[in-house]
Amino acid sequence: MDSSVHFEANASSRGSRMRGVALAPHTRLLLLLALVVASGPLVIPNAYFYDVAILVAFNAIVCVGLNLLIGYAGQISLGHAGFFALGGYGTALLTTRYGVPPLVALAGAVAAVALLAFVVGRPILKLKGHYLAMATLGLGIIVSIVLTTEDRITGGPDGMQVPALTLLGFAVQGERVWYWIAGGALLATVFVVSNLIDSPTGRALRALHTSEIAAEVVGIDTARHKLLAFIVSASLAAFAGALVAFYSGFVTPAKASFLHSIELVTMVVFGGMASTGGAIVGAAVLTVLPQVLTVFKDYEMVVFGALLMATMIFMPRGIVPTLAALVLRRS
């Protein structure tokens, strides 16, 4: 198409200047993350901190997935802990009751949760805003109550034991081994989710966040895309839940609690919406914070609640995007 139609030649803004290094932002994140994970053992002093790092990684996996749903697709879920817990319980049940090998059980549990998300997602995602929030909340609590009540199957409030994860016949034990597993799982998650975001599908999700009508009108099946984001984020939550189950050796209904769902949303919102790096930062800060605050254990809820409110009132886009914007404005 030649430009025989003349439009006023508007002065070029700084927008089209070439970036210094030709690396996509998500590749940069992946490399940075790999660097952080690889250098971990050099700085981590003892087993306690390895434990914290592992928990950060597992929470980050859930948050990256949840961020896809909340930050990119613009939906909300106040019941994601339900998916997390079901991943753990599914794994526990398959291994203890049916003798399924651990890795297969993990895959099976994640697949089952993905299926559940598919079945539940279709009707639920027709809702918007407050109503979607309440529906996901309700579902999460129902899962939590069922897990607590059906004690013959789930072991009730005390939960169930989970046997050790075995890879190629060797039992996975010890915090160092788990550190690499957690780090690797997080890197794989970030790889997959970043690819999803940097693709036509990712743009479709971002589009429907801003204007569902305009998205539909360019041919995006918004219902299907919302469902995709929902299923992916639910599956990632289940994946993390299963890994946590293997790591800690047990599952309890508390993992499905409303409070846990809120913690997860807080991590995403605090770290940064529509920012994969932000989700990881949020998970890191809010996993480490309670550990730091064990001295002030009684103040945990106050700090948490205040943090949540302050972030949403003063930095509604979350820490990482707000800081990034500040840095950009200076340069």
């Binding site: 909340i70 613009g74 909300i76 106040l78 009707p123 639920i124 809702l127 805003g129 407050h130 109503y131 929030a133 309440m134 529906a135 909340l137 309700g138 579902l139 609590i141 129902i142 109550i145 069922v146 009540t149 009508i213 409303f258 809120i262 949303v265 807080t266 919102v269 009684d298 103040y299 945990e300 809820m301 106050v302 700090v303 948490f304 609640g305 205040a306 943090l307 949540l308 409110m309 949403m312 009132i313 509604p316």
Partner: protein, 291 residues
Amino acid sequence: MDAQWVQFVAGGLTVGSIYALVGLGFSIVFNASRVINFAQGEFVMIGGMSAVSLLIAGWPMPLAIGGAIVVATIVGLLLAKVAIERARRADVVTLIIITIGASILLRGVAQLVWDKSVHRLPPLSGDAPLQLFGATIVPQSLWVLGATVAIVAALTWFFRRTRLGKAMLATSHNKLAAELVGIDVKRVLLASFGLAAALGAVAGVLIAPIAFTSYDTGIMLGLKGFAAAILGGLGSFPGAIAGGLALGLLEGVGAGYVSSAYKDVIAFVVILAVLFLRPDGLFGALRGERV
């Protein structure tokens, strides 16, 4: 079996009245600000716990109740002023998370101010159970039902006859028009939160003798009050009342005849059913979104 049925109905109506009061709080705030205040349940908790404290401090019962309501109202006004007013133009997700943060903060503060144990308020007219229609009913139940009726009547008078009440009603129908007519919408927002907090506190004070109170009773009561509000149609006052009573009855009958372990699930199944089947609730007060 008749006596048992009356028992379940009586219990259901009692707890249903509490849900109705909490649900009213949700609807009032929603009408003024389109915000669903997840902290609504905490006002119930603050009401009950404050009354306990004031009683222990030596205040006579009526003053303790009044004081508790005042405390909760102040907290409600603070929440509106500090958080909601500032974030008025934020999107839905942001507002939801702010109120959730508020509820966690309030619970955390409650844990520090009070403790984690369960407390009980003495009932308003003694413990001796009454026999009505073959069922055993605690006198406090009658107080709950009676107070709820009185409050509903008072609210109806408030919204129809007082300037502030009419302003609140007008704002709920059409905020822009209300502003154009000179109604101070910010004041309406504050008043709504204050009123919702007061209602929650009353509910807390009424139910504490029966169901006890502790720093975390707010969560479930809040959620169930919300279920009541949307069952009747979010924003509708008669809807919140009908919804609350209906939910209470469903729980009472369900717990009695089906399974008491799953009693709490009923409220959430109700939420889901309403949202999927009839989002406007039984009394459908919501208008849809414009394309």
